[in-house]
Symmetry: C2
Subunit: 347 residues, 2 copies
Amino acid sequence: MLNENVHKKDMRSMEKKLTINDIARMAGVSRQTISRVLNNKPEVNEATRKQVLRIIEKHEFQPSLQARSMVTRKTNMIAVLLPDISNSFFAEIVRGIERTLRANKLHVFLMTSEEEIALENSFIQLAQNYNVDGMILCSPRLDEANLRKLIPRVSPVVLLNRDLDADGAACVVVDSLYGGYTATKYLIEKGHSKIGIILGPSRAYSNIQRLDGYKKALVEFGIPVEDDLIMHVEVDNKGVHKLTEQLVKKKVTAITAYNDLAAAYVIQACTDLNLKVPDDISVIGFDGSVISQFMNPALTTMSLPLFEMGQTIANTLVRMIKGDQPFERLTTIYPILKERNSTKSLS
Amino acid sequence: MLNENVHKKDMRSMEKKLTINDIARMAGVSRQTISRVLNNKPEVNEATRKQVLRIIEKHEFQPSLQARSMVTRKTNMIAVLLPDISNSFFAEIVRGIERTLRANKLHVFLMTSEEEIALENSFIQLAQNYNVDGMILCSPRLDEANLRKLIPRVSPVVLLNRDLDADGAACVVVDSLYGGYTATKYLIEKGHSKIGIILGPSRAYSNIQRLDGYKKALVEFGIPVEDDLIMHVEVDNKGVHKLTEQLVKKKVTAITAYNDLAAAYVIQACTDLNLKVPDDISVIGFDGSVISQFMNPALTTMSLPLFEMGQTIANTLVRMIKGDQPFERLTTIYPILKERNSTKSLS
DNA sequence: TTGTATGCGTTATCAA
DNA sequence: TTGATAACGCATACAA
C-alpha cells in the first residue's frame, strides 16, 4: 500500500518563520527592545512591553534557541550517554534524570552506545560539537585515559558507576561491593556455602566490585572461594542459561546474578533443568527492577532506588552547571536487600 | 560527606575552543578553504587539503554544529516525544528509533510528557524552537485540533498510534482493533464467554480500538456485550488490582489486559484472591514485552515487534526528511498472538 | 583553486 | 528607556 507521498516543504507551508526583526518592525521598535522583553529585562517601558508582548502573542512568535545559544554559549541541552535504553535499569534512571532536568529547564539529548566503545567515543565528541551544557555518562567500556581526555570537552560531567577523580566530573556510584557482599552474606546465613555467581562483562567496574564483595563474604565466613563457581557473561543474557547449567553441574545450592533480568534467565534455566526455585536452588538478583516482583517465585534481590538515582545524578549536574553551589563529588548508593520468594534456608 | 566542590570553568580549563578562523590562520589560508575541506567539497587543491586536514587533526578541531545549523537550517536532531521512557513498550521502540536514526546521522532529542497535556504542548513548541529536523510523536492526550495546529511547526512528523491525515505527517499505528478482536476470539474459542476487559485511559485511540475489537468478537459469536465487564484504568496500573477484584466478583473466566504490565497486576490480584491462573481464570496481555516471558505462568499475549516498529517509524521519518523518497503515510502493525501458559480451555 | 563579502537570529556593549 | 553596532562560528554566492 505504498503511495506516492513525498514530503516537500513547499511554498504553502513555508510561511517563513518570524524573526525578532519582523516583530521589531511590526511593533515599530528596535529588535533590541524585543530581545529585552523576551528576556524579561527590567529596563523597558511598561507600555512598550505590553505592546510588544501583544504582538508576540498574536503571531505566536518563538525565538530561535539556536541563534540565542550562539551568543549565550548555553544550549540548555544535556547529553545523556548510556549503553541501552531498553534496559529497565537505565530507563528508570533516565526517567529520574529527565524529570529533574526538566524542572531546571534543561533537556535531554539521548545517546545510546550499545556498549560499543567507538560509539561512546564519538558520542562524547558529538556532545561537544553540539555544545551541550553538560553530560551524564554511563560508559562501562571507555578506559580511564580516554575518559580523562574527553571529560574536559563536555564538562561538567556526572559519571554513573565510575569512580574517577577528575576536574569537572562528579560520580554517582552503586556500592556493588556492598551489594555483592550483602547478597552473599545473606545466602550464607541461610545455610548456603556452595554459592555460584554470574557476573556481567568482567571489565566493568561494578562487576569487579560485586565479585570482591562476594569473596569478602565467603572469606569472612571461612568458606573457600572456588574460581569455577565464578561466571562471566561476555555478551548478553543469552549466555546466562548455559552458565547456569554449568553451575548446577557443580552442585551449587544458590546463585547470585548481576541483575534481575539475568536472574530471570537463571530461574528459567533451572526450570528447564527440572530444578525448583527456591526449593532446590536459591536465586538472588540485583537492581530490583519491575520484573522482579512479577516473576514467580518473586525474586529476592538487592534493590536500587533507580528513579531517585536519576534525580541525584541530574541534581548534581545542575549544581555543577550553576557553578556556585557545592556538590557531592562522589555519591554512593547502597542497594537494599529485598527478600522475596526465590531464596530459602538450606535445611 | 558534602565537600566544598564548586565547579568553575576557570582559566586553566578555558582553552577557548578553536574556531574555523583559528585553523585558517594556522594553515595560512582563508576560512573558506577550511569550510570546504570540512564539507568535502571537491574544488580544493589536494596539497592544501592535506595540509589543512593535518592541522585540523593535530588540534582535534571540531566545527560548531550550532553555527553550522544556523546557516544550513538543519540540526540533525529529531525530537522524540513520548509519555514514559521507563515503560518498556516505549523503551524498546526508542531503541529501534535511535539505532535507525543514528545510521542516518540523526540524533535523538528526548522529551517525556508523563501524559501531561500541557507538557506535550510545550514540548512541541520547544522542538520547534530548537529547530529540529523532524519529530516522532506519541501523544495520546493531545486533541486533533491542537495536533493539526502544531504539526506544521515541526514537520515532518511521524505519529505513533494516532491516525491523522495531515500534511507533513505520517502514521505508524498498531491495529488494536485486530488485537482486541484476536485476543477475545482466541478466548472464546477456548470456551470462554464471560470475558472481562481492562483498558487504559479511555480517551486514547488504541483503547477505543481495542474495545471495538473485543465487542466485534463477542458479537460475531453471539455473546452479549456486558458493559460491566468493561473496565477503564484512568491513572496508572495501581488501579488494575481493584478492577480485577470487581471482575472476579462478576464471575468472569477470562480477562484481557491492555498491556503486559497490567496483565501482571491482574495475575497478582488473582493470586491475592486465591485464584489460580490459568486454572481458575485465564489472562491475556498485550505487547509482548520482556516481562511477559518471565512471569509465571508465562503470559499469553498479543505480541508486538517493538524494536522493528521503532525502526519503521524512524525510517519513515528519514524518507520524509530526505524529501525525494516515497513513504508510507500509514503503516499498520498487526500484533501476533503468542500463546503461553496464562490461558486455558474452559472444560 | 582560492578569497571576500554577506547573512543566519539572537544577545551584549555602548552610546544616545 | 531605547537604538545602533558588533559579535557568535559557520556556509553560501560570487568574484578573483
